[in-house]
């Protein structure tokens, strides 16, 4: 939607929009303040004093590092699987027409459209039916299932913008299917895949509901956080970890935004 240059937003709209954005951001900013508080036993506001010592204590906690390591490992493998499956699906759906094409879109979206608890409990009962022991791989299996959709969405959007005649031209000029894929298709969808991969990584890194069902004894970082939320042991350490998680997840999101901003997601942001 575009309006004439002269028209200005009514004040009430501006206030409502600003209020909404503040509502979205203030809680996250508050975490940053709490990471420095000297108060240990409660969530007292305003903080009685500020200190840096919790950063050192959090740094020396092996359980935090173990959880972080597992999260990164799971997110990497799940992202790799999602990239392959999501790209294949997107290519099939956007390049050809076949019976059941719409059903595939639905199938890909289903794991994220259905509540996470259903995906979790379904996978859990399937694992126990098949006598699969819980391990890192069962966590990966769960994560990859719902990560496919973000890769798929990004790739489908890019395929839609990539003209089919480019591919035909490449074939006409004598390139075989693999050469066309490597020199024409991949450069065209590359950034979309990178963006999709980063979002998939962020999604997996943060996922907690499915993980509570498919994880065994190991805890990923979100599971660690959840345990701290239910039974707090050392609140200031949780504050510090929360702040670091916010910073770490912001980076791939910003990167994904800059990779896809040329019209994929914000139509017409340029003049």
């Amino acid at each position: 939607m575009r309006s004439d240059r002269g028209s200005r937003a009514p004040l009430s709209l501006k206030i409502a929009a600003a209020f909404g954005l503040l509502f979205l951001h203030l809680p996250i900013l508050l975490i940053f303040v709490y990471a420095f508080t000297t108060e240990e036993k409660s969530y007292q506001w305003p903080p009685p004093g500020l200190t840096l010592k919790w950063f050192g204590i959090a740094w020396n906690r092996p359980d935090v590092w173990a959880a972080l390591g597992l999260s990164v490992q799971v997110a990497c493998i799940a992202t790799a699987i999602a990239l392959v499956l999501g790209t294949l699906c997107a290519a099939a759906v956007s390049q050809t027409r076949f019976f059941g094409r719409e059903a595939i879109s639905l199938l890909v979206i289903l794991p994220i459209a259905l509540p996470g608890i259903i995906t979790g409990i379904a996978l859990r009962s399937a694992f126990s039916l098949m006598d699969v022991p819980f391990s890192v791989w069962t966590i990966v299996l769960g994560h990859a299932t719902f990560c496919v959709v973000v890769v798929y969405n990004n790739a489908v959007a890019r395929f839609r913008r990539t003209s089919g005649s480019l591919i035909e031209a490449s074939m006409d000029l004598g390139a075989d299917g693999f050469q066309t894929f490597r020199h024409i298709i991949l450069p065209n969808i590359g950034t979309a895949l990178l963006a999709g991969g980063m979002l998939a990584f962020a999604l997996s890194f943060d996922e907690v509901i499915v993980t509570t069902f498919t994880g065994g004894q190991q805890s990923t970082l979100p599971i660690w956080m959840l345990e701290e939320l239910i039974r707090p042991r050392q609140r200031p350490v949780t504050n510090v970890v929360a702040m670091i998680v916010v910073i770490v997840t912001f980076l791939p999101i910003l990167a994904a935004y800059y990779l896809t901003r040329d019209g994929d997601q914000i139509a017409g942001s340029d003049k």
Binding site: L107, I117, I118, A126
Partner: protein, 320 residues
Amino acid sequence: MTMLGMETQRTSILPRRGGLAGALSDTFWRHPKLLLFLMLTPPLLWLGIIYIGSLIALLLQSFFSIDEFSGMVSYEFTLATYAQLLSPANFDIILRTLLMATLVTIASAFIAFPIAYYAARYAQGKWKALFYLGVMLPLWSSYLVKIYAWKLILAKEGIVTWFFAKFHMAWLLDGLLALPIIGGNSLSVSYLGTFIVFVYIWLPYMILPTQAALERVAGNLVEASADLGATPRQTFRTVLFPLALPGIIAGSIFTFSLTLGDYIIPQIIGSSRLFIGQAVYALQGTAGNVPLAAAFSVVPIVIMGIYLWLAKRMGAFDAL
């Protein structure tokens, strides 16, 4: 280069490609169905077999029941487990969850609209990007960290209490908390708190589709409506809102579905009365009553099935 040029001049049909890759490529070109089959097999195996298979395995369990004496699952077809859903205690859980999902959806639609409308109609260039990131960053930041932030905010000694006390409005907060049902000891153990956190966490999912729908409304439609003498209120009701509705419905799919299935938010911020997700979690875990847990998880699936069907009829999927 010249060699290739000469060759193509002589014959318009290229020679058969050599090598395995070439032969494979030629085969795919001649049989596109084969390529399609190969492309679709891995994802379909994964999603169709592992995921859908698990779902079906789960749903089948809801037709079994648990033996009251031994506590073991008896593998005989029965609808008794579904009948248990209708017992007052269980039916309460379903109603409570549905009511919460509805209220959360309505509230997020109200808060989302101004942001989406401003971003779609007035924000340009740098501001547009800022709005986009302003919605995307909270959407993608860690779910648990966001809940944790609200635990800090809503705690009895937290910033909300401080804020109300500072502006001499402690009576207002106390009055809210004294309300039956939605109140409680502090905001972090009341339905009111659960509601606020639900709205906060799912709000971006409402903003994005609403904005996408509003982007597609031509600005001159609004101007034409004003030129024809409509008040802003009339323009909103008869032009803007109907055109934004598919987007709002698309957003409501997310807010509604996510609230239906969530069990972490009410567990951390809320009273002790259960929501569907918590019931499923408790039943399959400590209680070991997987059939009833499965029957409970069928409820959101059925509700979302009906919801999606209605949404599709209202054209919500074009706005996604």
